[in-house]
Subunit: 347 residues, 2 copies
Amino acid sequence: MSDTPSRTELSAIGEFGLIERLASRIELQLPSSMKGIGDDAAVIDPQGLHQVVTTDMLVEGVHFDLSYMPLKHLGYKAVVVNLSDVYAMNAEPRQVVVALAISNRFPVEAVDELYDGMLLACKHYGVDLVGGDTCSSTSGLVISITAIGAAKPGDIVYRDGAREHDLLVVSGDLGGAFMGLQVLEREKLVFKETGAQPDLEGHDYILERQLKPEARKDIIALLREMEVKPTSMIDISDGLASETIHLCRRSNTGVKLFDEKLPIDPATYQVARDFNLDPSVCALSGGEDYELLFTVAQADYDKIKGNPNLTVIGHMTHPSEGMHLVDKQGGVHPLTAQGWDAFLKKG
Amino acid sequence: MSDTPSRTELSAIGEFGLIERLASRIELQLPSSMKGIGDDAAVIDPQGLHQVVTTDMLVEGVHFDLSYMPLKHLGYKAVVVNLSDVYAMNAEPRQVVVALAISNRFPVEAVDELYDGMLLACKHYGVDLVGGDTCSSTSGLVISITAIGAAKPGDIVYRDGAREHDLLVVSGDLGGAFMGLQVLEREKLVFKETGAQPDLEGHDYILERQLKPEARKDIIALLREMEVKPTSMIDISDGLASETIHLCRRSNTGVKLFDEKLPIDPATYQVARDFNLDPSVCALSGGEDYELLFTVAQADYDKIKGNPNLTVIGHMTHPSEGMHLVDKQGGVHPLTAQGWDAFLKKG
C-alpha cells in the first residue's frame, strides 16, 4: 500500500486517535466555517446565501482499484467529484464532510496519504473539511463525501432550464479519463500475465484525466466574467450522451448533437485508435471527465464563441424532434444513454 | 431478506431507475427544501439560520447484522442516529442526503424496505430526504447519511461550554440498546446451534432500544419550554462514560459521576442480571442509547428537577480533580473511556 518504512496499526490509535490526528492537521480557512471537526456536527454560517448539498460515494472494487490508484490521488479525486457537482449548480463549494469505512489492512500511514490528497484538493479549491465519521470495514475501503456550497438564489442553475434553440456547450475535452483507464487496465493485465513493469510513458495527459481529475472552477469564473448565465447545467460523470439526455428530459426538450464538434484531445484520439475504439464513442460514453455541460441562449453566442475552453456541440430542439446525434456524414442517429457501465459491458 | 413473493433484480432497473423510483415517493415538506432529488445537488434556503452538518456511516457486519435487523428498521435507525447528532447541537434537523452502496444480492424490494424505514423516520421527525447517491457494492451494504439542521447562532450548544459546578444531566435511561443487542446475539447463536426459533418474548423494550431507537427531539423541545439552555451537550452513541469524557476534555473540566444516579430501566436491569453483567457497566459503556447528555448551570436546577425525562447524574469539577465515578459505597474510581468496542472485547 505504502512505501513508507513505518507501519502503525489503526487499532493502535483507534477511532478517536484518528479523528484527533486529522483534526490537528486542519485549520479552517473560510469565515462561513464556524465549527469544524470535534463536535456532534459542524456549524456553517450561510451568510445570506442559499446552500447546495451533494453526496458521492466511492467504493473499492467498484469505483477505484488500488493496484493503480495511489491513495493520495484517490483522496484528491473523491473530493473533486463532489465539488464538480457543486460547480454544476453554478455555486461555490465551501465545506466537505468525509465518512470513511476502512479495514485494518490499511495502516495509519495509508489513511494519512488518503487525507493528504483530500486536504490538497480542499486547499486547491478553497474548501474546508469540517467533519466526518471514520469506522471499520470488513473488507474494502469506502469513501463517502458530502459537499456543501453557497450561491445567491438567482445564480443557481438547474438541469431543467434549457429551452428550444439554446446552444449546447461543453468545457474542455472529452474521453480522456476513459482512455486513461483503458491504459491502466491494460498495463495491469500485462503485469499480471508477464510481470512486466507498467509502460505508461507518453500517456501523461489521459492518466491525469483518470487519476487526478479537476473540477471546472475556472469555467464558473469564466462564465461569470463573460456575464453568461447558463440556462441549464450538469457535470459529466457518466458520459456526455447520458448527461445530455438528463438535460433534455428535465428541461423537456430534444437535442441535436454533432459528432464533428466533439472536443477530443489528440492524445485521447490516438490512444482510442490504438485500442481500436471509436474516439467519438469514447467521448460520448466514456464518463469521468468532470467537464461542465450546459446550455446558453443563442443571444449569448457572441460572448462564448472562440473561447478555447468552450465548445458548442449542438443545440436544443422541440421535444417532438427527439434526441439525436448527427454523424460526420450527416447521418442522424438516436442518442442513446449508454453510461459508463453499459459501455464497459460492451467493451 | 424479504418475505415478499416478488423479486426484481437491481440490474433490471439500474441506478437511474432506482433514483426515479425513490424520487417519485418523495414530496418535500419544508419551505427550506428548495430542490430535492434530481439535480447535481439539492438546494436549501437557510432562512437566516446557521446550518449544522453531520455524517454517519453504517457498514454491514460492523454496525448491523441483517440476520436480526429488518431492513426497514435499519433504514429508520440510519436516519435517527444522524438526527440525534443534530439535536445534540440544540438544532432542528431539516434535510438528509443518503449515499448507499448495495450489492446485487439485494432485490429492488429490499431497497424499497430500506427506504420505507428512512422515509418513515423523515416523516416522524419532519425532515426532507433531498438527495443521495446509489452505487453497487462488491460485498455488503453501506449506508452513509448526512443530516443538515438549522438553528439561531445563539442557540447552538457545543461540547466545550461546560463549567466547574455545572450539573451533568442525561435524558431517558441507559444500557437498554446494549442489552437488546445481547439478547439478539444470544438468540442468533441458539438458532445457529440448535435451529430453535428466537425467544424474544418479554424483551420488547430493550429490543426496540436496539432495533428502532429514537432521537430525543422531545428533550430539545422540553428544554426550550423550560427556558434551559445547556452549557454543553453531546448525544450518547458510544456510551455514557466515553461521552462524559468528551465533554470534560473539550470543556476542560473534571467530573464526578454517581453510579447510584444512573437511570436504568427495570427491564434493562433484569436482563443484565440474567446475563451476569453489572447493569451500571452496561449503562456506562453500552452505547447506542441515543440519549442526550448535557450540562446546565446550577441556577437551572429548579427548572429541571423532578422531570421524569431528565436525571442529574453528577457535576463538573475543576480539571485538576480529574474524572471520577463514585460507586454506591462511596468509593471513587477513575472514569475510563471504554466505548462500545472495548466493552465488547471484554465481554
